[in-house]
């Protein structure tokens, strides 16, 4: 009975993949694996490269399946390398606050009065290269420092507040909608190229955030409704480092979640949606930069006279819904396979955190080249904010592209491990936890292949 059920679903999924591969092969094989940062053709065709990525994730699950002793799992999660923390003078919090608020005001100002060429403008380079690409990397690699550096939070604490109670029904919805809206204007407007527009959006976000914290109180607003704070909190939950008084501890990503030593914790129901949003926006950000997406989807729709913002709005809503539906469907099958009485909603919540390393790995892969290319330009704008020298981007060495692919695979392998650990916490025995993971692993394999296809596709 269970075998028939599994066979039916697996055959349905394989049929969908076959259709997907047929649909995508025409363009992809024609490009034959040209990596985005080089003009060197890859030796193997893209489909084989993408298939290999999927196989690596499958193999990593098979290897992880050999670890079935709970004591060993706890030992691996508890393992950390402690390094003594050098005695550095502690940075004073008011000084950090002043610096972060100054940087916010300086960025907004230079967006208005600085040069309007994007590679010469401090605001553009600081927001997109240093903050969105570089700073986010530090959060999931080294830990969340946004609580201390958030300039809007610093500003809100000096303002009065009405301290109204936050409607619990809203949950994380404002944060999810805010994050989707942020990506909508990033991909559908000139905000990444126009310093003036960027400063306008920063001003709008500042007013909205301060208004929210004025109504509900600073802590409540930034904990529940602010998309950026939540975004960094979840990324910080999978960081490789934790700090104690005299030492830095290096451990596996996600062990903070396993050992419940992070402030993000297993997410509440509505927060699953936010984690899916994080995963989706990083993917969509990469997808829209591919030639395939632009030539086959965006340009034909634009030729019908549909505005670009509407196109992205529809795809963001549809894609986000699709991601959630796939995840939820995988959990539904997991619930049936594992014959458990744990509710589907609880399984949804518990396994959602295993998706964060995938998003982190994809972010690292997508933005490493971008960060390395444009960081020198940012230095020039520090020294000459109003008249920086002309910037000529250099081509990055070939091996950087290889690293980006490794980051995607590493993110997925971490997720496979976290999912394995969660299964062993929720289900009893040793066979039930292993069998319960099939649907989620299958989705991870498909997503890895999709991510690898995105990063190997020629970009516009």
């Amino acid at each position: 009975m269970k075998g028939n059920f599994l066979f039916k679903h697996v055959s349905q999924l394989f049929f969908s993949i076959t259709l997907g591969v047929c649909f995508l092969s025409n363009s992809v094989v024609a490009h034959a694996g040209g990596l985005p940062l080089t003009n060197e053709p890859a030796i193997i065709p893209t489909w084989l490269f993408v298939l290999t990525g999927g196989v690596i994730i499958g193999i990593s699950f098979l290897f992880v399946s050999l670890v079935t002793q709970r004591q060993l799992i706890d030992k691996i999660n508890g393992y950390h390398l402690s390094l003594p923390l050098p005695r550095l003078p502690r940075l004073n919090t008011p000084i950090l606050t002043l610096v972060s608020v100054f940087l916010l005001l300086y960025t907004i100002l230079l967006g208005f009065i600085g040069p309007q060429n994007p590679t010469s403008n401090f605001a553009i380079l600081f927001v997109w290269v240093v903050w969105w690409a570089g700073y986010t990397m530090t959060v999931y690699l080294f830990g969340n420092t946004w609580e201390q550096l958030n300039p809007w939070k610093s500003l809100s604490t000096i303002l009065p507040t009405l301290n109204l109670s936050y409607p619990s029904k809203l949950g994380s919805w404002p944060a999810s909608v805010g994050l989707l809206f942020f990506i909508l204007i990033e991909v559908g407007s000139d905000i990444t190229y126009s310093p003036y527009l960027l400063s306008c959006v920063l001003l709008f976000y500042t007013v909205l955030t301060l208004l929210g914290s004025f109504i509900y109180g600073s802590d409540t607003w930034f904990k529940n409704a602010d998309p950026i704070s939540k975004f960094f909190r979840y990324y910080g939950a999978v960081s490789l480092l934790t700090y104690s008084n005299n030492s830095i501890n290096i451990h596996l990503p996600g062990t903070k979640i396993m050992n419940k030593t992070n402030d993000a914790g297993p997410p509440a129901g509505h927060q699953v949606l936010f984690i899916i949003t994080i995963l989706f926006i990083t993917t969509y950000d990469g997808l829209i930069s591919t030639q395939f997406w632009n030539s086959k989807i965006i340009f034909p729709l634009l030729s019908f006279g549909i505005p670009i913002l509407i196109i992205h709005f529809i795809f963001l809503l549809f894609g986000h819904g699709l991601f959630y539906a796939i995840y939820h469907y995988a959990i539904l099958i997991m619930h049936r396979l594992s014959s458990t009485y744990i509710s589907i909603q609880s399984l949804n919540m518990q396994f959602a955190v295993s998706l964060i390393p995938i998003a982190a790995g994809y972010h690292l892969a997508h933005f490493t080249g971008y960060l390395l290319t444009f960081f020198p330009a940012f230095f020039s704008t520090i020294l000459h904010p109003l008249q920086p020298p002309m910037f000529y981007p250099n081509h990055l060495p070939f091996w950087i592209s290889i690293f980006t692919l490794i980051f995607i695979l590493l993110g997925h392998i971490c997720s496979v491990w976290i999912s394995h650990c969660i299964s062993f916490k929720l289900f009893s025995g040793r066979l039930q936890p292993l069998r319960s993971q099939y649907p989620l692993i299958f989705v991870m394999i498909l997503y890895t292949m999709f991510s690898l296809w995105i990063v190997t596709s020629p970009s516009v």
Binding site: V55, L62, S65, I342, S428, L431
Partner: protein, 95 residues
């Protein structure tokens, strides 16, 4: 029927469920007695009665046998995957 355990997990027991076993220590609910025995020994090893410990030892032997077969399948699958991938690479690179 919906219920919450002390660990914060929610449970949903179908109305037609023939068997419902509940952990007396943490209110975790299971569809089979075997699951309950495994859970009690894995989560509360020091608080289990001797009968449960003996039952666990029996069930553990049966599960170990099944797990051995499972791991054999995993190893076979690993070997098949490596071989399959090597063949695909060989055909693609030669062709």
């Amino acid at each position: 029927m919906e219920q919450k355990s002390t660990s914060g997990l929610e449970f949903s027991v179908p109305s037609h469920a023939s068997m419902v076993e509940q952990c007396p220590l943490c209110e975790f609910i299971f569809p089979t007695h075997e699951n309950l025995v495994f859970h009690m020994m894995e989560s509360h090893p020091t608080q289990c009665p001797i009968e449960t410990t003996k039952e666990y030892e029996k069930l553990s032997i049966t599960e170990s046998d099944k797990l051995f077969i499972y791991h054999l399948k995993i190893c076979s699958l690993l070997m098949l995957t490596f071989m399959g991938l090597a063949y695909v690479y060989a055909f693609v690179l030669v062709g």
